[in-house]
């Protein structure tokens, strides 16, 4: 079974339903899937939207170059800001999963791909702060870093999401 970086990107997009919106979402979904036991092999580091993998970014290049996914662009109505839309190219053949062969992970990928992008950013960041940076007072730290984004119930939604995934911060 092929398990090249581009196959792993295709796995995520196909598990999401064949379509996944925005690079930020793709990054956070891949990060959280790894935390749930998927083994992408992508290295993550902290960037502006939380955990980010340059390896994954390169894998997207591969996936596009080798005809596994197609990237198109759309724009937000309010301010015209651009975002990516990834669609899987399967050519009507059934997809053979590489690193997301597990049904549970496929389901999680679908759920996460439908989540609000800011909630995903906050969930991934909270997990990163606790697991990677070992910040014990992660709530203060995430509010310090993300400011307004944590308001209007977004941070609570992120915590709920983590709990739903079994990655609740209290247990870490």
């Amino acid at each position: 079974m092929a398990n090249e970086p581009e196959d792993r990107v295709a796995d995520i997009v196909i598990a999401a339903g064949g379509r996944l919106v925005s690079r930020v979402r793709l990054q956070k979904v891949a990060y959280l899937l790894d935390k749930l036991g998927a083994k992408s092999g992508f290295g993550f580091a902290y960037h502006h939207y939380g955990p980010y993998s340059r390896d994954l970014d390169n894998a997207v290049l591969d996936a596009e170059a080798f005809g596994k996914i197609e990237e198109t662009y759309d724009r937000r109505q309010s301010d015209g800001a651009r975002y990516s839309v990834f669609e899987a190219i399967t050519g009507n053949r059934p997809h053979k999963y590489s690193y997301l062969a597990n049904d549970r992970l496929q389901e999680r990928a679908k759920e996460l791909s439908a989540a609000n992008v800011t909630v995903l950013e906050l969930a991934a960041t909270a997990n990163w702060l606790l697991e990677e940076e070992r910040v014990s007072d992660w709530k203060t730290e995430i509010v310090r870093r993300k400011g307004l984004k944590t308001r209007n119930g977004r941070l609570e939604e992120a915590v709920q999401l983590l709990s739903h995934l079994g990655l609740e911060p209290a247990k870490l």
Partner: protein
């Protein structure tokens, strides 16, 4: 008595003793601290002088330039608050000015190269975190002077620099599409490298800056209640100047920051520092580095060595000054890499663009080379550089840029992101990331084989 500095970019920079905000005398006192003086020994463009011999300007000069531009931006805020009928908040302006001056304190030797070395050692701390830690250090000179200026000021400055997203317009002085850092380095790097392209119409841009609220959420198809914060936007009549401003950054990435020889040297320094760090972690092996036992690099990379004090002992000058000793190391990797760097005997480059611009071709080539030279890549006899990409907004690390770092133009009074086709087809054409992939070979025969 006011203090004056001459600067090649901004001309005369005056620190006025009678500054009504009281920030100028504080800034002068901060410049005088050992933490800030260390920036004299860190070059703004790291090893770009291997390629652009004039690019020897330092983070010291840049930081003072950023402070100078920050003063201009604070005046813009005052002007725009008055235009919008909102109050100008002096206390926040003071914090922004001092944060602008101190924003680069946490850079390590060769800046991003050192950060890359740390990342490869699985160290999570970024230079922004070092900056905050240096500012807060209770034994350092910075917090002593900040607290003397105003109790609690240290925390305000550190917190402003740690915020990733804006909450008010004062944050835009240190982080926005139009922040003081960018407004200094675009002009300074262009001047010191000597590249002809990439000029910006600074005065016209400043004249046309306005303050308006933008959406902070990452762009997405789901529209919803998004948090908003004020940032610098530009009047539409400054659209051509705005395009040039973004092109200037693009050009610098293309011609200077991603120059293949510069990137090669960065990778070689990374290899050298990783090798030193590997030996420093084992006491018995320290001597194999060629460095004296108490050398600052060994202290920092040694067990429990990552303290503020040890970090502040590191700078470009320390590393380049150690090349002679490193070139006599018992460890052959350290000795060879240090000797090569000392004499500018660089690895041989294979730029995958040689095979054409088609990404499919380049990615296939890279895959083939990665397989063919798998062992040498592991041992760093072959260095793969596939992490440089550039779009009009892309950061060096490759992540998407945050909304407040994207340039907004007022269109019918509403802030719109500039790359919309209706606003700027020119910028729209440059949004997609372009990848620069190079492979550096220790052995020229390997490079030639890979080329075939």
């Amino acid at each position: 008595m006011s203090k004056r500095l001459r600067d090649p970019v901004h001309g005369l920079i005056v620190f006025d003793d009678r500054d009504p905000l009281g920030v100028d005398p504080l800034a002068w006192a901060l410049i005088d601290t050992p933490e800030f003086q260390r920036l004299r020994r860190i070059r703004q463009l790291g090893v770009s002088e291997f390629t652009f011999p004039g690019a020897v300007h330092t983070r010291f000069a840049h930081s003072i330039g950023v402070f100078h531009v920050a003063r201009t931006l604070v005046k813009v805020i005052e002007r725009e608050m008055s235009r919008n009928g909102q109050p100008f908040e002096q206390p926040k302006a003071k914090v922004a000015l001092v944060a602008a001056l101190l924003h680069d304190l946490g850079h390590g030797p060769f800046s991003h190269t050192f950060e890359g070395v740390q990342k490869s050692r699985n160290v999570k701390k970024r230079h922004e975190q070092w900056t905050a830690e240096i500012i807060r250090s209770p034994v350092g000179e910075i917090s002593r002077r900040l607290e003397r200026f105003e109790p609690g000021f240290t925390e305000k400055v550190a917190q402003l620099l740690e915020k990733e997203d804006p909450e008010d317009i004062y944050h835009a002085v240190v982080s926005s599409s139009f922040d003081a850092d960018r407004l200094d380095y675009l002009r300074r790097d262009r001047m010191m490298t000597g590249i002809g392209a990439g000029a910006i119409d600074f005065d016209w841009l400043i004249e046309n800056v306005r303050v308006a609220d933008i959406d902070l959420n990452a762009p997405d198809e789901a529209e919803g209640e998004a948090p908003k914060a004020p940032t610098f936007c530009l009047e539409k009549k400054a659209l051509p100047a705005a395009e040039q401003f973004l092109l200037a950054r693009y050009t610098l990435h293309q011609q200077v920051y991603f120059h293949k020889a510069t990137r090669c040297v960065e990778h070689m320094i990374g290899k050298l520092l990783r090798a030193v760090a590997g030996r420093a972690g084992k006491r018995a092996e320290c001597r194999l580095t060629g460095l004296p036992a108490q050398h600052a690099l060994l202290r920092f990379f040694g067990r429990d060595g990552e303290t503020v004090e040890n970090y502040l002992a590191l700078d470009d000058a320390l590393v380049t000054g150690s090349l002679e000793a490193l070139s006599k190391a018992g460890d052959p990797v350290i000795a060879d890499t240090a000797t090569r760097l000392r004499n500018r005997q660089l690895y041989k480059t294979l730029d995958l663009a040689e095979f054409g611009e088609d990404q499919g071709t380049q990615r296939s080539r890279l895959r083939r080379i990665s397989r063919e030279f798998e062992e040498k890549i592991k041992s760093e006899g072959v260095l793969v550089d596939d992490k440089a990409s550039i779009g009009i907004y892309t950061e060096i690390g490759g992540d998407e840029e945050r909304m407040h770092k994207k340039l907004h133009v007022l269109d019918g009074g509403t802030p719109k992101e500039i790359s919309r086709r209706e606003l700027s087809p020119l910028i729209e054409a440059l949004v997609n990331k372009k990848q620069f992939t190079r492979v550096y070979f220790m052995d020229v025969a390997d490079r030639d084989a890979a080329r075939r």
